[in-house]
Symmetry: C2
Amino acid sequence: MKAYVLEKKGQPPRWSDFELPAPKAGEHTVNIKAAALNHRDVFITQGLYPGIKAPSILGADGAGLAGQREVVINPNVGWGSSLAHQEPSYRVLGMPDHGTMSEQIILPEDRLEDKPAHLSWEEAAALPLGGLTAYRALFTRGGCAAGQKVLISGIGGGVALFALQFALACGAEAYVTSGSPEKLEKARAMGAVGGASYKEDDWHKKLAGMAGGFDLIIDSAGGPGFAFFPKIANFGARIVTYGGTRGKVPDFSPQMIFWKQITIHGTSMGSDQEFRDMLAFVGKHQIRPVIDRVYPMHRANEAFQRMAEGAQFGKIVLSL
Amino acid sequence: MKAYVLEKKGQPPRWSDFELPAPKAGEHTVNIKAAALNHRDVFITQGLYPGIKAPSILGADGAGLAGQREVVINPNVGWGSSLAHQEPSYRVLGMPDHGTMSEQIILPEDRLEDKPAHLSWEEAAALPLGGLTAYRALFTRGGCAAGQKVLISGIGGGVALFALQFALACGAEAYVTSGSPEKLEKARAMGAVGGASYKEDDWHKKLAGMAGGFDLIIDSAGGPGFAFFPKIANFGARIVTYGGTRGKVPDFSPQMIFWKQITIHGTSMGSDQEFRDMLAFVGKHQIRPVIDRVYPMHRANEAFQRMAEGAQFGKIVLSL
């Protein structure tokens, strides 16, 4: 069998032969049809992820055939029973557990869900981790509902695009930020009411001018920009953070937070129940993940290179 | 009638003659028995509060007689109908609305609640704004429950002490911080399991060593110390902020917030329903506000001086 294997920490993974252990009782072999990339995979190849173990097959996102059953894979390993948070031992599929960037994967029955019928293999593979993260951020944590004004930062990333699609599907009024005018324009074409480039001065004032104020802000950047969110948030607003790619917030002021009764929700991935709820939501609203590019899986290195450059708009998919 | 009047912005208030307008239909005259100080009052006398109007009678907290009825005063002016947040036009009683540091106050019927029977006039006057703020912070926002580990920073302040008393009454395990060893000792005598001085290096490690980790942290300081809270918070923990006396947080990191699924709740005062719930809770658990000192109301300037110095442990009360 061939797989995209991290053979040694600090070396680029390679498409190479790999022997999976035989399935145990209750486990299924899934013949992978497509897999997709997440930032987590890039961080692992760059050695920037805690507890890297090699050799490991990368990849959290995948879809394929378990016998004749068309399945999408739940990327959670040991979330636990609480909706509020994962167990501290929780892991995402793919390093150290052998992942989806592989001709085959062996998984317990309860990690397999029916592939939404309206999706292609590539679309189904694009959905799991990003869709789950966006669903929990937007609904469980953020309380998104019809008529609310929602700001989604860094549009173009997988989670941000799912958040935009889900927010629109539930009847919210969505706004976006990006550093790229092209991405802002694409988001408008998808249904966003407006957007602003965070590279401009006064981007937050521009957004507040369009929307009046936001009920919900979804962010994965952190950094200096985060400090402006409370200023453009409504009373009782929620700010949901699922990442910190721009690092620490240098000037975080409690004043607006307590006076406006704002809540900041940290969120990461989601529970197994939320994964099933997300699939049902995607089925009900016939949502199709935005795909940036599809690469043959043996050319995964090129796909990783594209993701590292940050130019993508949507998910980067590997096809078999 | 005499009252503690802010006659001009920037000048110390004075105990002086003042003519209240006549009560309108549906309004009651309350003969004040005692009033209490809040930081808000001090900020007003220092000119550090937005929208200062003079002449105004200060004071949010009070208890007295409406005819023969013993009442405690609801300090909310126009919270509105939402539990999630106040209306933007919301005000706290006392400047610009004539407040409680007065021989008399005129209020609508719905601002008056029965004085909890087990409390003295001074204790009842100490309760309203601090008790309301602590109740919302701890329960509505913080979700405090029996068995949880709760950290309350800056013990000695009115709200922090109510939060400690309420947390203990509901069966939580409470820990505290203070800059003063005496205050830490007094909190232990009240039932806190442990405490640490935030003036020591590694205060957060000391607390984590005692408690293992916190489910709920209640803070009104902000500043550099706030950045340590996520480190000593459990998965799924809540951090509630009701003030920012130490200013901005210089290094706020999203990492722990999203990975541990932490929620930061901003909170300020509380709704009319929460005020009634707080009074019922205080009655049920026979809680007595901690009183630092009682001054005759005509010596209010000395009381304000004591509060400005920050040496108090409990509420500073003015008696008539």
